[in-house]
Symmetry: C2
Subunit: 224 residues, 2 copies
Amino acid sequence: MWLLYQFPLCPFSRKVRLLLAEKGVGYEPVRESPWLRRDEFLDMNPAGETPVMVNAEKPGRPMIDSMAICEYFEETVDKAAMINGTAADRAEIRRLVTWFDVHFYRDITRPLLTERMEKRLVLRTSPDSGRLREAMKAAVAHLDYVDYLLDHRQWLAGSTISLADLAAAAQISVADYLGGIDWKSHEQSKRWYLGMKSRPSFRPLLAERMEVIAPHADYEKLDH
Amino acid sequence: MWLLYQFPLCPFSRKVRLLLAEKGVGYEPVRESPWLRRDEFLDMNPAGETPVMVNAEKPGRPMIDSMAICEYFEETVDKAAMINGTAADRAEIRRLVTWFDVHFYRDITRPLLTERMEKRLVLRTSPDSGRLREAMKAAVAHLDYVDYLLDHRQWLAGSTISLADLAAAAQISVADYLGGIDWKSHEQSKRWYLGMKSRPSFRPLLAERMEVIAPHADYEKLDH
Ligand SMILES: N[C@@H](CCC(=O)N[C@@H](CS)C(=O)NCC(=O)O)C(=O)O
Ligand SMILES: N[C@@H](CCC(=O)N[C@@H](CS)C(=O)NCC(=O)O)C(=O)O
């Protein structure tokens, strides 16, 4: 049995969860709040970050880093290949995964998590409205790029769904939960995201709640 | 023919160059200074980062992100496998690559590059000695971790050399060029790094210079 250390609004854990669900790999989510810096968790992962996956039968060898975890399941489970196509296609998928994991996260998801989650749960101060505005402005630029990709391709990295779509949807879903996404004038991205939300792999994520923090009004709607 | 857009002190380009040399893949380095934000470069890579690789015969499809590039050559060139072993071994290699690319870079290489390169070349101000001290303190902690790994393993990720060693050596070599590494009381790491420096794949990197910025005294020495 696989254990997945995560919290509901961790976008990297969401990417892994989407992949596991698409591939039909079962796992038990274990709640971890990395900001608490629990000693036992730091012993498992010196980076102190979620997600971490542990094979309950071999607890001594945790798997760390969402991309390493995704590559592992891509290599070991044939069903629903998500890093697929030629070597060049695979490079394009990996480029986009990094784009969303690094740039979208740094510009949008991370500041939203800091301002709307950590300041509420941990620091008990009010969010900085300037930083929120900046994140929402960055989200417009990022959705423009998603629109541009979808002008040229059916899915983000090419003609089939891939880990790039899961990585993007994972980041966007957390930003959307926190009210950071305005779909206005992003029809292409919106249609693609509604398609992602309608997948069975997405349902458990949409139904989950982060304590204290309620999602944005349309977060769970499949026609919005 | 492959073109590699890079500058001499880019640690991610160094990781790619080490891999290409180990695998015997030829390439032409093309000098790119990402801080100049050249329009033609941004058209190629919206992230504006080095390294980028372009197949001169198919210039329309640049390869972006050092990990995506490394995975590509690992998949297409059998010689000198660097993401090798079981799926779990491969996950450990990828975890460590991310560790050095993200954490070592953020704590050490990036601040050293900002203080000792960008402030000199671009901003024309003096380095912040507090930030330099912090980076050098972080380097001690990181070398402690490398020592710890080498207490348990012959190479950083296991019993054979892997991309984890190349990623670590790439970051360390840039930090060492900029005088950020003190090898004192890190005998294990030092011995491993001297071994890395002695590899033919490392030679061209050691011989190269960044304009204006001279390397630290022992940077090129193979017995130091
Ligand atoms: N490269 C890692 C990044 C993971 C990451 O940044 N996780 C965040 C949570 S979303 C974290 O644990 N941050 C540390 C903290 O909050 O203290 C991955 O892809 O797994
Ligand atoms: N994830 C990228 C990171 C590359 C990166 O951060 N490159 C730095 C140079 S070392 C860069 O181009 N930064 C942008 C800048 O300096 O403006 C990779 O692994 O290729």
